[in-house]
């Protein structure tokens, strides 16, 4: 079982609300990622981080923002949720050093904006 945790697992929220999806890992990995996945579709990278104080945008344009103040913590924030933000959000981490390149994923947060 991977030591990467996401909360909440499910969230239903009204349009216009600000939300933060939490992601924490205890493996000491420098690299962390947020992917967005709609049902039956591929994972799309929306944000990633190489380490503390590093954040980068991914391939898919997203209205969300991220921060990396601590190695173990990589929260994702939506300032004003909209129905188009309804999706599954997956957090992952990896150390990507030497031969250790696998990504460890959390259980995901399924977000529904009504």
């Amino acid at each position: 079982e991977a030591d990467i945790y996401q909360t909440p697992r499910y969230l239903v929220i009204g349009t216009g609300k600000k939300i933060t999806l939490e992601c924490s890992q205890t493996m000491g990995h420098d690299k962390m990622y947020w992917y967005q996945q709609d049902p039956g579709m591929e994972l799309h990278l929306i944000h990633y981080s190489y380490g503390v104080n590093s954040t980068e945008k991914g391939d898919l344009s997203s209205e969300s923002t991220v921060s990396r103040i601590r190695t173990e913590h990589f929260p994702l924030t939506l300032e004003s949720a909209r129905p188009s933000h309804t999706s599954q959000y997956l957090c992952a981490s990896s150390d990507f050093t030497g031969s250790n390149t696998e990504a460890f994923f959390g259980q995901g947060t399924r977000l529904t904006v009504v």
Partner: protein, 113 residues
Amino acid sequence: SQKIEQNSEALNIQEGKTATLTCNYTNYSPAYLQWYRQDPGRGPVFLLLIRENEKEKRKERLKVTFDTTLKQSLFHITASQPADSATYLCASPFDSGYSTLTFGKGTMLLVSP
């Protein structure tokens, strides 16, 4: 543009048979390919990695091949079981620094008893 493609149609097989899933890539040469399993409502779980200089990798009932001429990786599950039913994802780094993974859409495998 760079692409990683998997057969979007579900694969239905009978228990005990070998399942073979395909991952094709275009317009780039990956240093490695990874295979993940994803169950409904859960995050992907890493299964195997194969590097460009490796022809084949095995782990228990799983086998992955990498053909750089065909630009293809095959993922095999031998003696398949109903518990193997899941979506299987192929992934590879597109960037030269190998810092992020791009995933295919995945192929759903259904193993019937």
